[in-house]
Symmetry: C2
Subunit: 498 residues, 2 copies
């Protein structure tokens, strides 16, 4: 992960936002290569999920919507994390990331230890417990500390658990709900009447526009509405690089189905579609797993949710959630807006609220999953038998920032340079293609390997003296083929989108 | 304009945001057709300005940046509109949109009138003046009211100018600056230390990342950094549909040049490039004009700004600003961040801050300019000699939401339907293409004309019985040609992007 983060910074994929000002926690900027890769992810998704399907239309809603949207959706009331303050240090913690345990010697509780969630918190807790035991000059056997998070502490313990900032008990507050929506005000007045929120998800914009879409298109159930756009969550502790940030981009679908449709079958079908799509853009199937949320943890309206999990370097985490939400959302918006949001079914001549299946994917998480899948440090041996380590991103051609790089073999032969320039200009009409004439060809390959350019196209002496062909070197197999210049465009097209 | 707005709503281009909740002023949602057209505008710009140029790289920064970015840029201090409150009605007005004038009878000022800016404000003012004169029972000649905006009122008049809400003087405050940035808070605390802003422009993210870009790419002066993204301005009075909204999207370039470069020549070159691009996507050259900001109205650091103006239905207004900003922005960020932002010039072995030319264009304004250019109600005559009015959007093929529509001539002939389906599926792999088999062919053409689909492709009896060709009908000329099915894809490619 560290090597990958370094590469992202060094080659211009990802920067910390406002880095020259010390950064701002949970916000990231995408550099010249990152912006291309992001665009490729979004374009591939849009093409496959919207353009290439007949049961899908798109939408692009504003980030700031009417605040009642978030009342109806339940976000104003319930979209919160439990927080705990230290009254002395003024630090604030997510209660479910603050862990504590009783220090027990020969069955007697002699005090408490606390710390923030980490991989080594058990070791820390036991060490702290040992310190406490010695300080208290207790004899006897210290039991291993049983750690729980602060939401599991009974109220009588709030006064007894030490603050992680000071090590002293007595300064922690009870857990309090903290809403994760960023708040702002519209217009010149700053009072209750002007409060608005940055959307914490794109999905609600789809529900709020459901009537507009059915009134202006000829969609028929089952059909989906897709949206790509930024969303914001004021996470207390953003972490794992771009995995959990405060500003992120979602690709969401609300797929509407009849209330009596086979939702289980359609849910399974969507899971399969999503997995197939991930694999099609280069995510290995064996790093994807499924996690079905247990019934007892589902919201009351939810019929079922299965997350597609990905094996990130920091653990197996959610990549793509596919939720069956029944008619909850449309019903909420119909109630809160007072507008009928029914769908009229021509066949049965009946009106009803459709149910919905919601596949919800993050652009940034997909980006990270692709990078971690693609990143490799590999030994390669050159013609002279020398072995070196190359860093390579095995990105799918659809996803790679540059689709190809064009190289004149040498830069001091005008005919070769001119021919390479001409080919580059032609390919650049259609794709993002790099041109490089500096340094030895091996070094130029290596630069492109590191940023995932799948094909290196070299114009050499034979090209201009003999065959008007170029050599195309494959980033992954290192195999080289030779094809006529006139066929390069069609060849690339097939490789990228075939 | 009203007809166009109605079309946008009826066919799913643009909706008011959160419409079922009564909307939220200054925010818009783009429907199934709008989202495609927006994407086409952005993709065309990105391809032409970034991919097809070798002197340009892209960037995608976060919307929420470090607040010091906006201190350095001057937005915290100076990005404001003068506002005036009515203490009685609690209404708030932009001072430069509140007009007032003295009521003068035979050279004597007998009072004041006021009103909000509108086309008929002069007539309203004179009528109100006449009322005032009669109420005051004055004889003599009433002079025409000379209207000025409230920022031009001397302080002794604030008490004398009536509020437009009440008609009575004495309740208006002096003009006060109101910052147009939307404010929010990062993290759990809401105090001065956690204030952050939604970016009011994308440009500053480019300057803040200037060092990252020169460190991670091999750009050499002159070069540009391009960015597309949302920006937010808390306009007091959003208006003219999507022309001045509170949430909008920008396509901005910062083009860095040497301090001793011929900035005037490069400025002219950028203006020409921008005009050529607008024309290339379908904006008529004769509706574009140039407005050079007068020297005395420029900021002290500005070398010159020229706006490309477009003839909107509501007047000639700014579409694309091209500003020469010297090294002001980089200097500000270097000073505020304490980081060196110098560019090292290999040739002269010297370090310096580059100067910059900034072409700044709005996606939504381009969208509106394209729609107003494309919209026509035209009489057309069919084969039987009947004339009817068709509504048509003459959108450029690159911009049109659907590139083509595929029609089986009849829907009850399975071979025709199958062939049409097959062609549609093939074209859909690459473009957004509509399929329609319902109603008479003329009606199907008309539906597509109205949403700007440039080509109607019909599979008919001859296709399957004789020639394996299809008829392609041109939206603008109504001409029909017949070509082999196998050539449709290449033909479309040439038309769309040739």
């Amino acid at each position: 992960m560290d090597a990958l983060i370094a590469l992202c910074k060094r080659r211009g994929f990802i920067f910390h936002s406002s880095e020259i000002y010390g950064g701002v926690n949970g916000f990231f900027d995408y550099g010249p290569l990152g912006v291309e890769m992001r665009k490729n992810i979004k374009d591939a998704w849009w093409r496959d999920m919207v353009h290439r399907r007949e049961d899908m239309v798109g939408l692009d809603c504003s980030i700031i919507m009417h605040p009642n949207v978030w009342k109806a959706s339940g976000h104003v009331e319930g979209f919160s994390d439990p927080m705990v303050d230290c009254k002395v240090s003024k630090n604030r913690y997510r209660a479910d990331q603050l862990f504590w345990g009783a220090v027990i010697v020969d069955g007697e509780t002699i005090g408490y230890v606390s710390m923030l969630e980490s991989e080594k918190m058990q070791a820390l807790a036991d060490a702290d417990a040992d310190k406490l035991k010695r300080k208290a000059q207790k004899q006897g056997t210290l039991a291993p500390v049983v750690l729980k998070d602060y939401t599991e502490a009974s109220p009588d313990l709030y006064e007894k658990i030490p603050s992680p900032s000071t090590g002293q008990p007595g300064s922690l507050t009870p857990p309090r709900d903290f809403n994760l929506m960023f708040e702002t005000h519209i217009g010149a007045l700053r009072d209750e009447s002007s409060v608005a929120y940055l959307r914490p998800e794109t999905a609600q914009g789809i529900f709020a526009n459901f009537k507009n879409v059915i009134d202006t298109t000829r969609v028929k159930l089952p059909f989906g509405i897709a949206q790509i756009g930024k969303a914001f969550r004021n996470e207390i502790t953003p972490r794992n690089y771009i995995f959990r940030s405060r500003e992120f981009e979602q690709m969401e679908i609300e797929y509407f189905i009849a209330p009596d449709a086979d939702w289980k079958g359609l849910h399974r079908k969507w899971l399969d579609t999503c997995i197939a799509w991930l694999v099609s853009i280069g995510i290995p199937a064996n790093r994807i797993s499924e996690y079905a949320h247990p019934k007892e943890k589902l919201a009351f309206y939810s019929q079922g949710t299965t997350d597609l999990m990905f094996e990130f370097p920091f653990g197996v985490q959610e990549l793509w959630g596919v939720a069956c939400r029944g008619d909850y959302d449309l019903k909420q918006h119909a109630t809160h807006s007072g507008k009928a949001l029914d769908y009229f079914d021509e066949a049965s001549k009946s009106k009803f609220l459709p149910h919905v299946i919601e596949p919800s994917l993050g652009v940034d998480r997909t980006f990270l999953a692709l990078l971690t899948s693609a990143y490799q440090e590999e030994p390669i041996t050159d013609e002279k038998g020398n072995t070196e380590i190359r860093t390579v991103l095995h990105l799918h051609p659809r996803i790679a920032p540059y689709k190809a790089a064009v190289f004149p073999l040498v830069k001091n032969k005008p005919e070769i340079v001119a021919k390479a320039r001409e080919l580059h200009a032609k390919l650049q009409r259609r794709w993002n293609v790099f041109y490089d004439e500096s340094a030895a060809i091996g070094k130029r390959y290596r630069r492109q390997d590191e940023i995932g350019t799948p094909f290196g196209i070299t114009v050499d002496f034979e090209t201009i003296e003999k065959d008007n062909c170029v050599t195309i070197r494959d980033r992954d197999t290192l195999a080289q083929i030779r094809i006529p210049i006139s066929e390069v465009s069609a060849w690339l097209d097939e490789k990228i989108d075939g």
